[in-house]
């Protein structure tokens, strides 16, 4: 077992858990979305870490270079980033509507108003 070789993955898990903690422990909806973004980015880093080859180069062909890193995760993550911003935009739109309906974006307040009705 190579401890240094797994360092990347451990940091990814630390980031993932930070994002997860923000999502479950904070009541503010925008903060939750930021937490979700952190979580999402940690997954991106996980994929890209797996695609890396030691001594390899970026997957753009050039004469004199033989070792390239794996292009497939790059493709998956590239599209995932753009889809991620699209879903974040949708989430923010929902937050704005919730704020208009309830006058707050705090989970507790929204829950309270729901209970009153």
């Amino acid at each position: 077992m190579n401890v240094l070789g797994l360092y990347n993955y451990w940091v990814v898990i630390a980031l993932m858990m930070t994002g997860f903690y923000i999502v479950i422990a904070h009541g503010n909806l925008i903060k939750k979305l930021v937490g979700l973004t952190i979580f999402q980015t940690s997954v991106f880093i996980l994929y890209i870490s797996m695609s890396t080859v030691t001594g390899g180069s970026a997957p753009i062909l050039k004469e004199g270079i033989t070792l390239y890193s794996n292009p497939l995760p790059h493709v998956l993550i590239l599209t995932a980033i753009v889809v991620g911003i699209a879903t974040t935009a949708l989430g923010l739109a929902l937050v704005v509507r919730i704020n208009e309906a309830y006058g707050s974006i705090e989970e507790d307040v929204i829950q309270q108003k729901d209970d009153e009705v």
Binding site: T18, S69, L90
Partner: protein
């Protein structure tokens, strides 16, 4: 050296993430998340994923920050301290994290060439894509040709998200036009900024076109170019007011264009289907298979670029039209 840079950047990321959890000023949180995204994009460059870094830089650090900030204007700036006990959440996170760390113990070590991920399709892409597609950028070949069907799904998702934002936040057109005169905000006094940006915008648009069409040979492509193009228009809108920007870019045309991009993508597939090949198999588009691939990739990248650019503009303009309307209602 690379390992050291990686280590340093990863520590920066963890520090930033922890700082984000502790802050209650949401503006500061959004700014730190911008920094977070800059660091992660830098990390992608170090790990040889240049195309991903390109996308993360333009999308994560640019558009995402702008969107978050403009929705903060609609939803308030400060977070209320939570009344829940944080211990329970902390415990859940700790357990989940240690389980995940236990799972990583079986993973191949970082950068190992013998890892299973490098054994299946990747050697085929790296060795044969030059012969089959004829483009130096393997990522573009895989994105647009080998996995073209997948990318079409992604473009459709982006289009759907644009429609979703429109459905949630769109307002009646007449009312926002009435507000035209009062909307220039605090940017009116920034004369140097306005002049310099006005001079820069054509170059930004040109750069977007370069990224769009150079994506076959270097990092870049439709996704990134679309975002940069939209960013230039958004810059104009921020400095000269949204009504002025709507005179430059017709909003209903933008809405139409977002659909046209997906349509271009789909019809390239249908044309190849009619010519007797599989859906999105571009070899049918020209007599020579390689030039057919070139043509097909260029067309679908164009479709992607158009859709991404117009959806980004739609999202941004819709958020701001909403903000304008709210101002009208409450002030």
């Amino acid at each position: 050296m690379e390992a050291f840079i990686l280590l340093a950047l990863l520590s920066f990321l963890v520090l930033t993430a922890i700082a984000i959890t502790r802050l209650t000023d949401l503006f500061a949180v959004v700014m730190l998340s911008g920094i977070y995204s800059l660091i992660s994009a830098l990390l992608f460059v170090v790990m040889d994923a240049v195309d991903v870094a390109f996308t993360e830089a333009s999308v994560g650090a640019g558009i995402s920050t702008l969107l978050m900030v403009s929705s903060l204007r609609l939803a308030g700036r400060y977070e209320r301290p939570s009344r829940h006990n944080p211990i329970l959440g902390f415990f859940v996170v700790l357990v989940a994290g240690s389980l995940l760390i236990y799972a990583t113990l079986d993973m191949p070590s970082f950068g190992s060439i013998n890892a299973p991920i490098h054994q299946y399709v990747a050697p085929h892409y790296i060795d044969d894509s030059m012969k089959e597609i004829g483009l130096p950028n393997i990522v573009t070949s895989v994105l647009a040709s080998y996995r073209g069907y997948d990318t079409m799904g992604e473009v459709a998702v982006i289009f759907t998200a644009g429609i979703g934002v429109l459905a949630l936040l769109s307002i009646s057109r007449r009312r926002s036009v009435e507000r035209e005169k009062t909307e220039h905000g605090r940017m009116h006094e920034q004369m140097i900024l306005r002049i310099v940006s006005k001079a820069l915008i054509p170059f930004i648009l040109l750069f977007a076109l370069y990224v769009q069409f150079h994506g076959d040979y270097g990092p870049g492509g439709g996704f990134q170019a679309g975002v940069i193009f939209a960013a230039a228009i958004i810059l104009y809108a921020m400095l000269f007011g949204f009504p002025a920007a709507e005179r430059v870019v017709n909003f209903s045309l933008v809405r139409l264009l977002s659909a046209i991009g997906v349509l271009i993508y789909g019809s390239v597939g249908v044309v190849s289907l009619i010519s007797g090949e599989n859906f999105l198999d571009y070899t049918a588009l020209a007599a020579d298979p390689v030039s057919g691939q070139h043509l097909g990739i260029m067309l679908i990248e164009l479709g992607v670029g158009i859709t991404v650019a117009s959806v980004m503009m739609i999202v941004f303009f819709t958020f701001n039209a909403r903000a304008l309307q709210r101002k009208e209602k409450y002030l």
